[in-house]
């Protein structure tokens, strides 16, 4: 049996990390897969880091992705992408010996949110994180999703733009994504978000980019 597809979504509270994680899991279910999702929540305050794991395939056991085993780590913020970069599938070899290994991708919204509650964070923020990770050999695809979202009229839609980009990297059919978005998004925001999703897909439509991004 092939290993399930494993994804990590990371960002800052209020960015809509959990929404796009759940939309991905639901799209996979709509496409006929088993899926599990997990997140840590509890302290419900804004401003802290948020992470969610999604796995889908014929049968999924663990809802948690192992470090070094994520096909795509979706970072809605640069520092959070860095924090979870060790989850990206980077090396050969796994627990399943009969497994064909592919390399993973770090898909990042090129956007910085300085942790407001950390003294000195402004000076110490790792602005060069993506270059650093690229030098380490990680496949990094950085997209200006927040900027594009603002251009589309609402900076908060960066998450759905990133989801659109992610949809290019996964094998789920486009109709399944669109049906899932239509079903799950409140009517008030539906059209704008469908536009954002499509804009996200277009960000990765350039052939070179796509070749680089496909796991």
């Amino acid at each position: 049996m092939t290993e399930p597809t494993s994804l990590i979504f990371a960002g800052v509270g209020g960015q809509g990390v959990l929404l796009i994680a759940e939309l991905t899991a639901r799209a996979a279910i709509r496409a006929g897969y088993d899926a599990k999702q997990t997140e840590v929540h509890g302290v419900s305050q804004r401003g802290g880091g948020v992470e969610s794991h999604v796995r889908y395939g014929q049968q999924v056991h663990s809802p948690l992705v192992m470090p070094g085993r994520a096909d795509v780590v979706v970072g809605l913020e640069k520092l959070e992408a860095l924090r979870f970069s060790h989850f990206v599938r980077a090396e050969e070899g796994s627990i399943h010996t009969d497994d064909v290994q592919t390399h993973g991708v770090l898909l990042v919204n090129d956007h910085e949110i300085v942790p407001a509650s950390v003294p000195g964070a402004e000076q110490n923020y790792p602005h060069h994180a993506l270059e650093f990770l690229q030098q380490k050999g990680l496949r990094v695809v950085a997209l200006p999703a927040s900027r594009l979202a603002r251009d589309l009229g609402d900076g908060r839609m960066a998450n759905v733009i990133m989801l659109g980009a992610l949809s290019r990297m996964l094998e789920l059919p486009l109709e399944v994504w669109l049906e899932t978005l239509r079903e799950r998004l409140p009517e008030k925001y539906r059209e704008a978000n469908l536009k954002a999703f499509s804009a996200g897909r277009q960000l990765l439509s350039h052939p070179e980019r796509e070749a680089m991004a496909r796991p």
């Binding site: 860095l82 060790h86 627990i95 942790p115």
Partner: protein, 604 residues
Amino acid sequence: MKEFLSGNEAIARGAWEAGVRFASGYPGTPSTEILETLAHYPEVDAQWSANEKVAFEQGMGAAIGGLRVMVTMKMVGLNVAADPFMVFPYAGTDAGFVVVSADDPGMHSSQNEQDNRYLARMAKVPVIEPSDAQECKDFVGHALQLSERFTTPVMMRTTTRLAHHKGLVELGERIQPQQAAFRPDPRRYSVPIYRRLRRPELEKKIESLAEFAETYPLNRVEWRSGSASVAPQPGSIGVITSGIAYQYVREVLPQASIFRLGMTHPLPSRTLWEFCQAHETIYVVEEGEPFIEDHLSALGARNLVGKEIFGVIGEYSPERIAAGVGKDFPAPSDLGREINVLPRPPMFCIGCGHRTVFDVLRQLKVTVAGDIGCYTMGALPPYEASHTTFCMGASIGTAFGLERAGHERTVAVIGDSTFIHAGIPSLIDAVYNGSSLTLVILDNSTTGMTGGQPHPSAGKTLKGKPAPKLDLEAIVRAAGVRQVEIVDTWQRREVGRAVRTGLAHEGPAVVIARGPCVRLPEMRLEERGAFPYFVDEALCTQCNACFKVWCPAITRTAQGFPIIDALECTACTVCVQVCPVDAILPLNVRSDGAPVNVSAEAEG
């Protein structure tokens, strides 16, 4: 039909399907969503109670009154409910009663890491442990059947990962159990005169449950190598596991035979022993303490590998199991040495009314005994003005003790929900025993940390029905406190003055710092007809006073001016109060008095 549900949502669905009629609890991560989901079912009388002991006792009454019952709480909540929990099994119940204890390995949102299977063993209560969302739903029905068959309360133990993961769940229909009428029976329900007679029966009950466990289908053996009847093959591995850890085992050791325990108390000793004998090595993989492992050791099993490699501390994960069994997997790179991976701790919300209080306490340099809620973050930078946190309601007793130990300037800080939960007896006692502590009640009309659940002074119930609003001031005065002040929590000077007055007062003093949690729907700017604030650079002198209120919505422009994020500003006005030149104005007014096009300004 299948639905994608969290463990907690599935438990709620399971309770509904199994015909539960009454459900109670107190919010606590990771259990809160169970009752929130149950509240949507009109057939279930679901409610938040003042605390877990009250919730348990209400459930107990409903069960002996003939209704199927679910009571929910986080693991430390069961400490509060331990009194009825330890006694109820003596009487037992004819209608099904299940208490959900949501344990939190890893302490994602808890003050300790206790494993409540021990409490259940102490109470002689059977424990059911599901392993995925489907079982979260199905096991509720099994637990209620078990409860009725053995006339005993049953504990369902979940853990954070189980409660907060989502999976596909096949749904069923609701059944409608017959309601048995309450039959008064002093020999059964009265302590202590008749209780001695019940004691041997309780012992017999747990023995017959242990026998029942031997063939209980929730305890499942999955043979993949070896078998019960053959001597163990060299190198053969068997795993004994329960809960979410079962999933990690399936992931990491797909070839191993697994004994999955769906009921972890009492344990099926005979079949476990046979399983141990059939393998050369037995891995015991259980989150929390060595509850199963110690039992197996006591049976005499000598081929066990468990806590010494997997550990007792923290949450389990597939990589932790993999590392334990010596499987190779890519290790996380140690990036921290080469690049600054700044932490991102949670923080008080922008506009949170607690910020002002902790700012005042920090400046007063008093000793602060804190309590359980969002305000535990008062201990973190930049405030660092909360010095103790133990358990629900402990602030007042701790402050009392500190005062007795010579710390005269001691302040207790407690939220409204926590005060109602366990603070009231402590305040009564502080007055009675002659304390002069100052108590600040952070009255935000909700249970904030768990996401905003109503409580007795919130004016509504879990189901959204209007309810009488508990008058906190009247309670405090009735306890005998003479010095009581109610202040707007966002008025810095007022809060400071009231706390100082309280400290100076001979005898106990209470400050009620009032203001709704900014996460409540009624606090949205449009609901309040309020506008976000902005800094008028024509007036601003760059004195930096506004930065000293530590509002994360205030950052600096390239020119050095403060700038307020209009999407984040809650119009709390704390920065306005400290600006010496009145340069911070609502977005609908300019300094020259001209109205501003709010939407255009917000986008700019």
